[in-house]
Assembly symmetry: C2
Homo-oligomer: 301 residues x 2
């Protein structure tokens, strides 16, 4: 998750209390009757310093005792749920059943993990990302991403429920009031896409355009991790920083490309935004922090 | 749980496939949004040979990773839920939310544990046992039994929901059709009491009286384990096999007392039932099997 790496760098440069993270919930899924929010959890665990960094999801020092015991009832598991991670899903599900908003529950979970930043789900309403692969019916995102390991040719992304879902007031507020808004180097289709397609979000970002930066998730023609490149290709979008910048042309004032993609600066600037190149490969928190510094400086924060 | 020990002995004497166990659900409780059925699980785990015998509940070779992780959200836990045990509760809860009857779910869980006997919850409707202690408001059973370790003077037992709850057809059927019915040496108030108070159960047992045996849970003036003696005392019932036999006088044809309680045989027989004495202390499965043999023989099974 490029966003997690970037956030880890960002909180080395700004007071974590000043940070608000608006998070995709389109890849939420129900497992064993539990509401699992993979992106919310990764952001929460990252900001709490307890994420399993090698893995990119879940908790450090995790055990897996419950999952094999579920096999007796459900057959072979394909989605990794650690024991301590499960406690988070139990709590979230319990609170949702009590009618509490996901936004409030997310804040409770963040507090329980002593996270100082605000973590906001994009919506309290359900949105479910489905991936249509060539020759197959549309699959829920986690089935595509985890079970199938993102294999197959992506023909279409469906965001079921997106028309009825409203962004949270907290999410819109944060766009309106933040000194700077950074679209993390995340998948523009399935991570940022759902957020941007919620009614009112794109309009709010358009108004904030001069304060909005985006970091290209495509470096040297591919993604560092994850299937964004294959998705873009499947959807007929150029797999380059320019292809991504085109998706954001109305909402982004500053576009960050990697040093090896300097050639895209001029074409991106012709879209009506500033573009700069820097080192965007976040192999260490220090390098992620350096990237954050460049972005913040360019946004004059 | 006297019932579990007895069942363990019983299946050494009869084909497990011939056994049906009707189980109390009055001490079911919701923990962390999960539906926990302690008595059903103890019976299932016992018949599957995976119960933690030293403890009397839960699974053998259990780990406890999830419970401490829940503390972050819920405060200090007081009810033991092992990781593998939790898988059972997850499955039960998931299926209940899908609208499946507890009876059906219980059978699914038993099958998953390869149990050959039938395990039937007394009702698919919720009944919740509350214990009124002197000087305190009524507590849910598990709070009294586990959290308070059964301390305090019992003034009253409330079986909330008992008037509306119906026994399952499967439970009534098993009473009508079984060659022998044995009331295990369980707590007559909170374990057998809820079953007996369901509309129609007592009537069905009355008709079956000659086939019904009961084993006294009181031996030498006290219970082997659990708070039955304190409860009987609190409710003004004589803490003796006779006191228990009086509770069952209309439904039991054969009453089993321990050898040290021979003096109660004559008074119990005056209630209109046969009574015999034998060794009822089930310190080993072999002794439990010997007890089962005595009961089965006396019932001419």
């Amino acid at each position: 998750m490029g966003a997690a790496k970037f956030i880890r760098g960002l909180v080395r440069r700004i007071d974590p209390e000043r940070l608000t993270v608006v998070v995709n919930t389109g890849d939420d899924e129900s497992f064993y009757g539990l509401h699992v929010s993979p992106d919310l959890d990764t952001v929460t665990y990252t900001l709490a310093g307890v994420v399993n960094r090698a893995q990119g999801w879940g908790l450090v020092d995790e055990s897996f005792s419950v999952l094999p015991a579920l096999e007796r009832f459900y057959g072979k598991p394909w989605f990794g749920l650690g024991d301590r991670d499960l406690a988070t899903h139990l709590y979230r599900t319990d609170r949702m059943r009590q009618g509490v908003r996901l936004t409030e529950i997310t804040a409770e979970i963040a507090r329980a993990f002593k996270v100082k930043s605000r973590i906001i789900p994009m919506s309290d309403d359900p949105v479910r990302t489905f991936v249509k692969l060539r020759g197959l019916a549309a699959l829920p995102f986690q089935e595509y991403f985890v079970r199938r390991r993102a294999r197959g040719v992506v023909e279409k992304i469906e965001l079921r429920g997106i028309e009825r879902a409203r962004p949270t007031g907290e999410a819109l507020d944060s766009i309106q009031k933040s000194a700077a808004i950074i679209l993390a180097p995340s998948n523009p289709i399935v991570s940022l896409g759902p957020i941007l397609q919620l009614a009112g979000v794109r309009e709010a970002l358009r108004k904030a355009k001069s304060r909005v930066a985006a970091i290209s998730p495509i470096v040297g023609g591919k993604t560092i991790k994850g299937p964004a490149d294959k998705m873009l290709r499947g959807l007929g979008i150029q797999v380059s920083p320019l292809g991504v910048a085109q998706l954001y042309r109305d909402i982004v004032g500053l576009f960050i490309v990697d040093n090896i993609d300097r050639k895209f600066i001029a074409p991106i600037e012709r879209l009506g935004m500033r573009a700069i190149a820097t080192d965007t490969i976040m192999t260490t928190p220090a390098r992620a922090a350096a990237l954050a510094s460049v972005v913040l400086r360019a946004l004059e924060v």
